[in-house]
Point group: C2
Chain length 337, copies 2
């Protein structure tokens, strides 16, 4: 069931079969017909490993995902799905590598074993050892998110700072004077997780520019933490009238805390931030929020990666998206009590 067998049965040489399949050299119509008949009869498909070895490329992309122990957020899931779909559209397969840190066997296998033609990296830290590692391995890669000094690396990202800034201006326009940022977990912030840090910076800058009183808290990525966190906010800073968040997992807890405190959104409290569209719409009331265009980012990452693979010497490219805020119904004018 290999190419030699096909050649034998079709009465031609192995190279002719190869050319008939790839079309890289002309083959007479009659011969192609005969070969195709044999192939169909035997249900033959070329061995991918042999092809990869000979061609020097695997037609496979690597996707480095956070290990499952840390459960994926909606946004991360969106990245994975869209990367896989975009790759499939180019007839490429996707190899998953669950890697948190630097020194990971699965990551090393992918980087060094030439198992993939390129890598897409997500959950980027401001200083990310994996970026360094891939650079020195001279393996094409694109990051979803970007390190502090991207240098020659290719990346796509959402401008968290700009989005948070817009949220703050929106709240300031509505008259709010003391607002809180509900950030991701303290561990992520400490690890240098880009979106968390850039959101914090954007929040502080924007509130300062508009003369608002700014409060920030970190909140673990789970509903229970969201509840506890919001109750602490109410106790500690009772005059806060609006929250900006990038922590999707905490939302159910925040909702429960609002309900428990008898606060109605947006009458008594405004809520906004960067939230997946689905979650924003499932909230009650639907959230005024910016949505991370995960599908578009994933597709873009694949496109950039393919461009980089096709032309190894090309100038690094990147894309910084700044999606609009969808005005729904979770923000309102500040009311004086």
């Amino acid at each position: 069931m290999n190419i030699g067998e096909i050649a034998r049965r079709a009465g031609v040489s192995r190279s002719t079969v190869s050319y008939a399949l790839s079309g890289k050299r002309p083959v007479s119509a009659a011969t192609v017909q005969r070969i195709n008949d044999v192939i169909a009869e035997l249900d033959y498909r070329p061995n991918a490993s042999a092809r990869a070895l000979a061609e020097g490329r695997t037609r496979t992309l690597g996707l480095v995902v956070p290990p499952a122990s840390r459960r994926l957020t909606d946004v991360q899931l969106g990245f994975v799905g869209s990367v896989v779909d975009a790759a499939a559209a180019h007839d490429l397969d996707v190899l998953l590598s669950p890697s948190g840190g630097d020194h990971d066997r699965s990551f090393e296998r992918i980087v060094n074993g030439r198992r993939v033609d390129g890598v897409i990296l997500m959950e980027i830290l401001l200083e990310d050892p994996r970026v360094e590692r891939l650079s020195q391995a001279s393996l094409p890669f694109v990051t979803i998110g970007h390190v502090e000094h991207p240098g020659a690396s290719w990346w796509v990202d959402v401008d968290y700072g700009a989005l948070i800034t817009r949220c703050v201006h929106h709240l300031a326009d509505l008259g709010h004077e003391e607002v809180v940022l509900i950030n991701r977990s303290a561990e992520l912030v400490a690890a240098g997780y880009g979106p968390a840090l850039r959101s914090a910076t954007g929040f502080l800058d924007a509130t300062a520019a508009r003369g608002l009183t700014a409060r920030t808290v970190c909140c673990a990525d789970e509903a229970a933490a969201g509840l506890a966190c919001f109750e602490q906010i109410r106790t500690q800073w009772p005059s806060v009238t609006a929250a900006v968040t990038i922590n999707e997992a905490a939302l159910p807890g925040v909702q429960r805390a609002l309900h428990r405190a008898g606060l109605e959104v947006p009458r008594d409290f405004s809520l906004t931030g960067v939230i997946a569209e689905r979650l924003a719409e499932d909230f009650h009331p639907p959230l005024t929020a910016a949505d991370v265009p995960a599908v578009e980012l994933g597709r873009l990452a694949v496109d950039l990666l393919l461009a980089q693979i096709a032309d190894a010497g090309a100038e690094p490219r990147h894309a910084l998206l700044e999606p609009p805020i969808s005005l729904r119904s979770s923000t309102g004018a500040r009311r004086h009590h």
Copy 2:
């Protein structure tokens, strides 16, 4: 940077390097030392394609996932994560194939191109053409979920029928007399999706056995549908006092509908079913429910697949899990109005 180069620099033959790395034949300590030094210096790692070609196995597992357009449920996500982690624990990589139907390029590539040593299939229909396809390709595979007549195939699954039966008995014990099953979407039911059909059968059998009035509805996998669906239930069958569901995505909508109708759980209405632990605990009040042990199923699937790969002639094995129901606080005695 290939094995020949290592051999040259270490002053030995290519085969000696290979044996030093694999340990399949004894190599003197001094030679091993010398080879390892060279390897460390050049940061060499064997080319995976060449190795796969020579060995006849790829050290890669295929995982067939639903295409991203249908967004993954929490349970499906759990499968993917645990399969990837379990594979990584065995130093295996995972190749993703987003395939819905039968005639999918990505699926065919994986099946026929010998890109993987075995396949894990999820979202199984009662009659699933992919199972047939894999059988005839004589590629080892394990399904998460099982077809109606598994024949010689290997599988792991949760006994949805038994779990739903337990939920019904639990409600019957509490005095409920008219209960509704909120199933997955009508499309999935029509397609022959196993859990949906087995749940429905179990529900009807159990309610009949306990003399309850049974109602069933299909509900699209989204919050908005859950809300609409529950309101329709209240209108159509006002004397229903409890619901059993396997539709996690509909839960937020159901919650909102309950709230809107002024019903308090469990005082006025009981809610139970098969629900991911995280969602059950995030609900207010926490749901009495059975949890699909996705992590365990994923790990089991990998274990079975490896056993099958190791011994191609082995008798088919399977595992039908029946996790306990966690008693939380969403079910209570029926109250007569």
